[in-house]
C-alpha cells in the first residue's frame, strides 16, 4: 500500500513538472517588470464622451407641447445634450414629488411646478440665484425668494386677457366688442338671442381654474389690480363688502342667464368654435389650440386696468444627477435666443423685455400689442400665488357658485375661513 502511495506521489510530481504553471513564479514577475520598463509600449486609449440625458417635466400636452418641443430641440443642438420631455400636471407632481424627494430621488432634471410649492420645498431644490441674477434685469416678472435666494425661475408668460370671440362670428351677426358695462350686457343679450346659441358664454372647467380666472378678471376690473393684490396678501377678506358687491352685483346676475354650466375646457373650445356659444374666457394659450388663430379676437371687461399675467416656474431638484447640465438648459430656455424660439411658436408671450413683437405669430402679436396698452398686464394670479389647499377650495367653491348662485355668502365665508392667514 505504501509503495502504491509513493508511486502516485512521484507520478503527480512528474505530471506537474510537464504542465505549465497556472500561476507565474516570483522570478517571472520580476522579468515582466523589467520588460515593461525597457520596452516602450504604445497604447491607444478610447475616450467615450458621455452625453447627459436630461428629463424635463412640464404640464403641456397636445398643441402646447408641440409649441414647447422646438425649444428643447434647439437646446439639444446647442448644449450637446439629449432631452426627453414628460408630461405631469402640477396637481400630479404635488403627489409624486414628496415621496421621491424623501428617497433622495428626482423624476426629472428640470421640472415646471407652482412657485409656492417650490418655496415650500426649497430644501429639495437647487439654488438658482446666481443663474437668475445674470438675467434678472431683462425680465418683466421677478421670482419670489426665500431668504434672498431663488429656487424657481420664471419662464414664458401667459395672460388671461378676457373674453375671446370669433371675428367671423361677430361679423356674421353684426356684433362689436363692448366699451362699457352696459354695452357688455347688451352684447350678451344679443348673442343669447342668436338661433343655435345655447348661452352667450361657455364656462370652462377642469379642476376648476378656468372659473377662477373669470372671477379674478371681475375682481381686477371692478376693484382694481390693488384689490387682487390685497386679497393675495390677506389684507382684504373675501367677506369684505367691496368683494361681495363685485360678486353680487356684477358676476352672480350673469351666472344662470349668460354663463353655461362648467364644461370641460378642451371640450368647451370645440363647442365655442362650433358657435354653440359666443364667448369664451381663457388664457392666451388658446391661440395655439384653435383651427384658425387669425379668426380670434379678444376683449377685456370694459374698464379693466389690469389682467392676470403669470408664468410657469422651472426648478432643479437637488437629487438630479445632471445639475450642471440642467442649469445650462434653464439658462438657455430663459435666454433671449431660447425665449424667441418659444415666442415664435405662439400660445405664450415672452417674459423678457428684449423680445420684439415681430417674433410672434399674428394672433399673439395683436395680443401683445393690446396688452401694451393695459396699465397692469401682469397682475399676479390669485389662486396660483396663494396656493396650497386654499387653491383647491377656491376652485371647488366657484364650481358650486356657478350652479348655485344663491350660495354666494356661504362660498365667500368658506373662502375667507380657509384662507391661509386666517
Amino acid at each position: 500500500m505504501k509503495r502504491v502511495g509513493f508511486a502516485l506521489v512521484v507520478l503527480m510530481l512528474a505530471v506537474s513538472a510537464c504542465v505549465p504553471a497556472a500561476t507565474p513564479t516570483p522570478e517571472r514577475i520580476v522579468e515582466t517588470r523589467v520588460i515593461e520598463r525597457t520596452v516602450p509600449v504604445e497604447k491607444t486609449v478610447e475616450v467615450t464622451k458621455v452625453i447627459p440625458t436630461l428629463t424635463v417635466i412640464g404640464p403641456w400636452a397636445g398643441a402646447e407641447m408641440d409649441q414647447f418641443l422646438p425649444v428643447l430641440k434647439a437646446a439639444e443642438e446647442k448644449l450637446g445634450v439629449q432631452i426627453r420631455y414628460r408630461i405631469y400636471r402640477a396637481e400630479d407632481l404635488s403627489q409624486v414629488l414628496p415621496p421621491q424627494f424623501e428617497a433622495k430621488q428626482a423624476p426629472g432634471d428640470v421640472i415646471f411646478m407652482w412657485d409656492w410649492w417650490v418655496r415650500e420645498n426649497k430644501d429639495h431644490a437647487v439654488d438658482l440665484t446666481d443663474l437668475w441674477q445674470k438675467e434678472a434685469s431683462q425680465f418683466v416678472i421677478q421670482p419670489s425668494t426665500v431668504d434672498g435666494r431663488v429656487y424657481a425661475v420664471p419662464y414664458v408668460l401667459f395672460v388671461k386677457p378676457g373674453f375671446w370671440y370669433k371675428k367671423s362670428f361677430f361679423q356674421k351677426h353684426n356684433l362689436k366688442p363692448p366699451t362699457t358695462w352696459e354695452e357688455f350686457l347688451a352684447l350678451l343679450d344679443q348673442i343669447s338671442k342668436i338661433p343655435g346659441v345655447k348661452k352667450a358664454i361657455i364656462s370652462g372647467d377642469g379642476v376648476g381654474w378656468p372659473l377662477s380666472d373669470i372671477v379674478e378678471h371681475f375682481l381686477i376690473t371692478f376693484g382694481g389690480p390693488e384689490l387682487q393684490e390685497n386679497l393675495i396678501a390677506g389684507k382684504v377678506r373675501f367677506t369684505d363688502p367691496q368683494v361681495r358687491a363685485i360678486f353680487a352685483e356684477r358676476l352672480v346676475p350673469l351666472l344662470g342667464k349668460y354663463f353655461s354650466d362648467p364644461v370641460e375646457w378642451t371640450q368647451a373650445i370645440d363647442l365655442w368654435w362650433n358657435e354653440e356659444y359666443g364667448l369664451f374666457f381663457m388664457g392666451n394659450w388658446l391661440t395655439g389650440m384653435v383651427k384658425d388663430p387669425n379668426d380670434l379676437g379678444v376683449f377685456t371687461l370694459p374698464g379693466a386696468r389690469g389682467v392676470v399675467g403669470g408664468t410657469d416656474w422651472a426648478f432643479i431638484p437637488k437629487y438630479s444627477e445632471n445639475v450642471e447640465a440642467a442649469k445650462q438648459l434653464i439658462a438657455f430656455m430663459i435666454s433671449k435666443e431660447g425665449m424667441e424660439i418659444r415666442a415664435k411658436q405662439g400660445g405664450k408671450l415672452a417674459s423678457r423685455k428684449d423680445i420684439s413683437p415681430d417674433v410672434y405669430p399674428p394672433a399673439d402679436r395683436a395680443l401683445a400689442e393690446a396688452l401694451a396698452k393695459i396699465e397692469r398686464p401682469n397682475v399676479p394670479d390669485l389662486d396660483d400665488t396663494v396656493g396650497g389647499d386654499w387653491q383647491r377650495t377656491f376652485w371647488d367653491q366657484l364650481k358650486l357658485l356657478w350652479v348655485r348662485p344663491q350660495a354666494l355668502d356661504s362660498v365667500l365665508r368658506t373662502l375667507d375661513a380657509r384662507f391661509p392667514t386666517r
Binding site: G208, D389, W395, D396, Q397, L400, V403
Partner: protein, 302 residues
C-alpha cells in the same frame, strides 16, 4: 430522548422561521411599521410633539368631514364620512343585488360567457379611467345617460350631473355600480356552480316554484359568497378615491368629498401630514370594524 425532542422542536421552528421570515420581514417593514408610524403621527403636531386627540377633534370638526347643517333634506355637501356612508348605503345593495340577479339570469343562458365578459369589463378598467368615463357618461354634451334622460322627457336630469351638488354623488355611485357589479356577478356565478342540482330537483318534486327555490335554496347556499362580496365591497367603498379624484375632485363645493380624497388633500395640497395621518387612522379603524365583523361571521358555524 428528551434532548432529541427538544432538538426536533427547534428544528421545526427553524424551518418555520426560515420559510416565513422573508415574507414576515417585508410585512413588518413595509406594512406594520409604516402603519404604526402613521398612527403615531396622528397624535403629534408638525413639530412632532404629542398632542393627544387634538388632530382627531380638528379633523372631525372640519366641515369637509362632517357638515351636519347641510344633512338631508338639504343638498350635499354633508361631509366625507357621511358621503362614504351614503356610498355604502346605496352602492352596496345595488352591487350585491344586481350582481346576484345577473348571475342567476346568466346561469346556463346562451352566450352567458360573452355577456359576463362584457359586464366584467368594468372591473378590469383602471378606476382612474373609470372616473373619467363616469364624468363623460353624465355630461350634458357628451353623455349617453343624460342623452337618454333627455330623450325620455326628463330634461331636468339631462344636464351635467357632476356639475351639480345634488346629482354629483349619485352620478359617481351609479357609475361605480357599473364598474364594480362584475365582481359580485362573477363571485355569485362561481357560487351558483357549487350548489348541487339535487336540491332543486328535490324542491321541484315537492312542488316548489322558481321563486321559492331561489329564496329557500339559492340565497342560503350563497351566504358564504355574499359575506365575501359584502366585506370586499364595503372595504372598497371606504377607500374609494380614484373615481372621485378624476370625476369631480371632491366637488362641487365638497359635495363628493370622501375620506381617502380628504386624506390626499391634507397630505399633498395642504402639506399637513399629521392630519392626513389622522384621516388614515380613522379609515383603518373603520376597515378594522368591517374586517373583524367578516372574520367573526365566517368563523361562526351558521
Amino acid at each position: 430522548m428528551r434532548a432529541w425532542r427538544w432538538w426536533k422542536r427547534i428544528g421545526r421552528w427553524g424551518s418555520f422561521l426560515g420559510f416565513t421570515a422573508p415574507a414576515l420581514l417585508l410585512i413588518l417593514f413595509f406594512i406594520i411599521l409604516p402603519a404604526l408610524q402613521t398612527i403615531a403621527l396622528s397624535f403629534t403636531d408638525r413639530q412632532g410633539a404629542f398632542v393627544g386627540l387634538r388632530n382627531f377633534v380638528q379633523v372631525l370638526s372640519d366641515p369637509d368631514t362632517f357638515n351636519l347643517p347641510g344633512f338631508p333634506p338639504g343638498p350635499p355637501p354633508w361631509g366625507s364620512i357621511v358621503h362614504n356612508a351614503v356610498w355604502i348605503l346605496l352602492h352596496l345593495p345595488l352591487t350585491v343585488g344586481l350582481g346576484l340577479i345577473l348571475a342567476v339570469l346568466l346561469d346556463r343562458a346562451r352566450g352567458a360567457t360573452f355577456l359576463k365578459s362584457i359586464i366584467f369589463l368594468g372591473m378590469v378598467t383602471p378606476m382612474i379611467v373609470g372616473g373619467v368615463i363616469i364624468r363623460f357618461l353624465f355630461d350634458e354634451n357628451a353623455g349617453i345617460v343624460t342623452a337618454i334622460l333627455r330623450a325620455v322627457g326628463l330634461t331636468e336630469l339631462g344636464r351635467s350631473w357632476t356639475a351639480y351638488p345634488e346629482t354629483a354623488l349619485p352620478a359617481l355611485i351609479l357609475g361605480s355600480v357599473w364598474l364594480w357589479v362584475g365582481f359580485s356577478m362573477i363571485l355569485y356565478s362561481a357560487g351558483l356552480a357549487t350548489i348541487p342540482r339535487d336540491y332543486y330537483e328535490a324542491a321541484a318534486v315537492d312542488g316548489a316554484g322558481p321563486l321559492q327555490q331561489f329564496w329557500y335554496i339559492t340565497i342560503p347556499s350563497l351566504r358564504p359568497v355574499t359575506m365575501v362580496i359584502v366585506a370586499m365591497t364595503v372595504l372598497w367603498e371606504l377607500k374609494i378615491f380614484d373615481i372621485v379624484y378624476t370625476a369631480t375632485l371632491g366637488g362641487p363645493g365638497g359635495a363628493t368629498m370622501v375620506l381617502a380624497l380628504q386624506m390626499y388633500f391634507y397630505a399633498f395640497r395642504a402639506l399637513e401630514f399629521h392630519r392626513a395621518a389622522t384621516v388614515a387612522t380613522l379609515l383603518t379603524l373603520f376597515t378594522l370594524i368591517v374586517g373583524l365583523w367578516f372574520v367573526r361571521t365566517t368563523r361562526s358555524p351558521e
